[in-house]
Symmetry: C2
Subunit: 189 residues, 2 copies
Amino acid sequence: MDRRTEILQAAAKSFSLFGYKATTMDQVAKIANVGKGTIYTFFANKEELFNAIVVGMIEEMRTEAEAAAVPGAPFEENAHARLMSILKFRTTHQLYAKLIDEGKEIRTPAVQEVLADIEAQIVQFIAEKIEKGIMRGEVKPCNTDLVAYLLFKSYMALVVDWGKTHDRELAETEIIDLLSSTIFKSLLC
Amino acid sequence: MDRRTEILQAAAKSFSLFGYKATTMDQVAKIANVGKGTIYTFFANKEELFNAIVVGMIEEMRTEAEAAAVPGAPFEENAHARLMSILKFRTTHQLYAKLIDEGKEIRTPAVQEVLADIEAQIVQFIAEKIEKGIMRGEVKPCNTDLVAYLLFKSYMALVVDWGKTHDRELAETEIIDLLSSTIFKSLLC
DNA sequence: CGAATGACCGGAAATGAAAAACGGTCATTT
DNA sequence: AAATGACCGTTTTTCATTTCCGGTCATTCG
């Protein structure tokens, strides 16, 4: 395996295990079995190394989200499946979960920026799917950015936030029932 | 004015100006022109004094929200007016704004608890209005708690959150247009 | 005599100086 | 030419000391 890949894997492991701030370049170098200076021949600095890792993670998440959709299935079904897949990834993926925690607890700026960027890309992803749905004639024309934002925030609220203020999580059927009878209902043709 | 009221006014002023943590009991006593011990004859401790102030604030907010509604006007119109009134209060009211900031920046536990409680009461308030709308035959029967939660979160997202990740605030017409054509549309009879 | 007070108490938080750790560089090695 | 790790300046952590604050209660006051 080439040195660049070794470094990327070492960094991914360390960021996942300890987060951004608690990962040191010395540590990455040691795990990757390279000298610290070698890292800087491939990545300008710690933040760029971090960004490279995150880009990979986003790709992974996108792939899983696409895999959750069934080609030819109705828009609502696939939208729901993809969003649930993304939100599951959010808490299941070790690095993503770690970053959310670090962003909230330690408030590392580099991490908060990355998290904001990931969310923006997720919303963008949803907006593209809505756009496709409109072109396919499944979805009514609308402001895709606004609707994508509302959809994402709604899923976040029901899947992630509800449990924090109530003593039980919402079942998936409750979520799909609610959204199906409200947002989706008026979204579809 | 009786001593209890003097203390309440002094505390309200200090909490509004400096927040919960930075307000000291000595300071409240001085502003109220009473000895520190006197405060403890009316309030068990600092947190109870704080809670008393917050209860008053919530009452204020409720009154303003009710005043924003027009008797006899359609559900959607009044729901929108009340929610916008509440969200305006959130950032306009000195104490509320201060508490939001303190909860986010200093993360004072007592403040975060109070903020969570206020939000729960707002959602409860909305749920009651939906319930009324259903009984009046204006709104379709639904899980009022769930719908109230979704509505509140949607308004928070569009009014409060949008501006943080985009370089312009949403106009009120954009918000009402979006929600009118999605959530409200499928909510009304 | 009962309500009011502020000096006082113990624990928590602020302070600041010294030490350790970190990201990034670059002269040296391989 | 590529790789390395000792080194540098800065930031962060540590920790002993001091200050501060919520709450109490013996004393004072009306």
